[in-house]
Subunit: 376 residues, 2 copies
């Protein structure tokens, strides 16, 4: 895996780069659509490639491990073969989902025991097993097994948790170093900075993560309920410590505004369920701002969903038609809204990249943040 | 509207024709995907045209009248403009849905009063109002307002009901003759033969319907629970009376086997929710037979869904992947299965047409009926 910076903004820490993987090149900054159980919900694989123009998608280890299961994924030759998505895939470590199980999980020294949300069966995730699972899923980018702290989180818990994450990281690195890629192509490990919203912990964690010298680095434990200012402060701090020559991935972020602000802070990669999940509830992200399509005001608006954005779903269907579909729970409503939102998110990061290359990013970003976060 | 017969099978009553409408030509025999509320569920309009190769779709007057409502459809310039489907559309009369409301509807002399299944609001459908509604929806083919009898149905009820349907038909014809097409293109009325499973009533009804001299004719009240033999007997009888020079539409039929057998009896047009509704439950119609994809036996079958059929959904995705999606209620599962089933149904009628033209229909049909109705 090779990361090359091609441009850097003069007024911010924004940068444009190219991340080369064995499944193709990724132009950064990039947004990664979330394909929880091996499918980006309501989107065909060819639409993801041709309409959304996604360059990399994310899979969730917890979900894929439970269903369809590792055995079938291995038989298929990995997730790329199973779902037909031939470009890069990043998998999370399953940690975030496991912690969300609350009562149904327990952190033990070796890892985390949990009960499946599907059938209540008991499982154990360890740093080693999670590396093996991601190798078998066939991820191009494997995430370290960490603990994602909630917000708010007291200092002593945040510190203990960060130390556990660092211990587990050493085990992840050892496991990755002692095993081979499963299907012949490279599988890179990205460690994750934790430390909640505590400056000293974040610094300490970023330094530790950087010292591991992996091919990319991630920032976790943000966008979990903290004020945006805290998110930006921590992101800025951590980006200043993580090596400039490697991609930085801010996990689970966020709104179009969050993404633009964090690009300005030096982040290269993003993922979030917001464009897909909110689409299914009728929340549209457009080049003109945010639309709640269920609102009465769109009832007889026969204009295209987002003419400026262009592309099939945005220009072929009208707001009134989409509103009718969403209100009546027609599956096509989820399909159209998801295409709109993902196409917009990918357009947004592509446009950001162009502006960075043109040296006009900061001015454009300040304008665009206002535009895309307004409610229409 | 012009209907031209281009070939006739020598060993059966099957025929191939072309129905010309102002929204394009329809090659018969044809299957019409059902787009209840202005959307064929889980299918984009471009997929319907390019992948499924649908030539005409059906809309349901009852659903469209309630939502999005006639006012919005009129403002849009009709359903074609509202949903973007530019080829022909046929609308049912709403009668079938209204009768399904059971307790919540009452037949009065003027028409039928009913309570909306959505909000309980009261409405009245009359032959005149239903013609006006279909004109406003913008159907190329408008169905007469009839009563669809259930099965079983005693003789005296079937006779009274048929007489009411005939009375209502006269009012439908009068209304159509005294009103203009709403959007400049032709809107043809198809009357509907009723009479349950009683030979004399069906004969009487078919003669009355034929005497109205409309541009096409339909057979209703079948595929409502009667044995297939009864359906075929009534269809054969009625096809022998309805004029050969006009298209014959058998409403709500059916399985691939039913369609092939009824093509042999002289039917030209079909619609049914089966390929779309059953798709969402994991029942696949393929060139090799019927698959319940939820079955354990497909769990690790990584072969394409239906390689022989060809096309995107059938060849790009595997059975194991589709099974995973359907079992986990992923929206993409419904999308793939629906594309498979509709592509298959349209392939089946197209293939039937080729065989009629080649003079090989009957032998092919007898083979194909066995193949497509077997459970894999």
């Amino acid at each position: 895996m090779k990361f090359t910076l091609v441009a850097k903004d003069q007024q911010s820490s924004a940068r444009a780069g190219v991340l080369e993987t064995d499944h193709g090149k990724i132009q950064t900054p990039i947004f990664m659509p979330v394909g929880t159980a091996g499918s980006v919900k309501a989107v065909h694989q060819r639409e993801l490639e041709q309409d959304v123009q996604a360059q990399i998608i994310l899979g969730n280890t917890y979900h894929l491990y439970l269903r369809p299961g590792i055995e079938l994924l291995e038989k298929a030759g990995g997730l790329h073969q199973f779902n037909g998505w031939k470009k890069p895939i990043l998998t999370d470590s399953g940690g975030y989902q496991v912690y969300s199980l609350a009562e149904n999980r327990k952190i033990v020294e070796d890892g985390v025991t949990f009960k499946s949300h599907i059938d209540g069966s008991r499982h154990l995730f360890t740093p080693e097993s999670v590396m093996d699972i991601q190798r078998t899923i066939g991820a191009d980018i494997i995430m370290a097994f960490d603990e994602c702290t909630p917000y708010p989180c007291d200092y002593s818990y945040a510190k203990t948790s960060m130390e556990l994450t660092h211990q587990w990281l050493k085990r992840c690195v050892a496991r990755i170093n002692s095993t081979e890629p499963k299907y012949g192509y490279e599988q890179a490990l990205f460690p994750i900075v934790q430390g909640s919203v505590y400056k000293d912990l974040r610094e300490q964690s970023a330094e530790f993560i950087a010292s591991q010298n992996q091919q990319g680095n991630a920032i976790g434990g943000l966008s979990v309920g903290e004020p945006h200012e805290e998110m930006y402060a921590m992101t800025s701090l951590v980006c200043g410590i993580l090596p400039a020559g490697k991609p930085r991935y801010l996990m689970g972020v966020g709104t179009p505004e969050n993404i633009l602000e964090c690009i300005a802070l030096g982040v290269d990669m993003f993922d979030c369920v917001m464009p897909t999940r909110n689409a299914r509830n009728g929340m549209l992200f457009t080049t003109q701002g945010i639309i709640n399509i269920r609102n009465e005001k769109w009832k007889d608006d026969l204009s295209p969903i987002d003419e400026t954005l262009g592309g099939y779903a945005s220009t072929f269907y009208s707001k009134a038609y989409l509103r009718h579909l969403i209100i009546n729970k027609e599956i096509l409503g989820a399909q159209i809204a998801t295409l709109q939102n993902l196409t917009f998110y990918l357009w947004l990061v592509k446009e950001a990249r162009k502006q960075i290359e043109a040296g006009t990013f900061t001015g454009w970003k300040n304008q665009m943040v206002k535009k895309v976060s307004q409610r229409l």
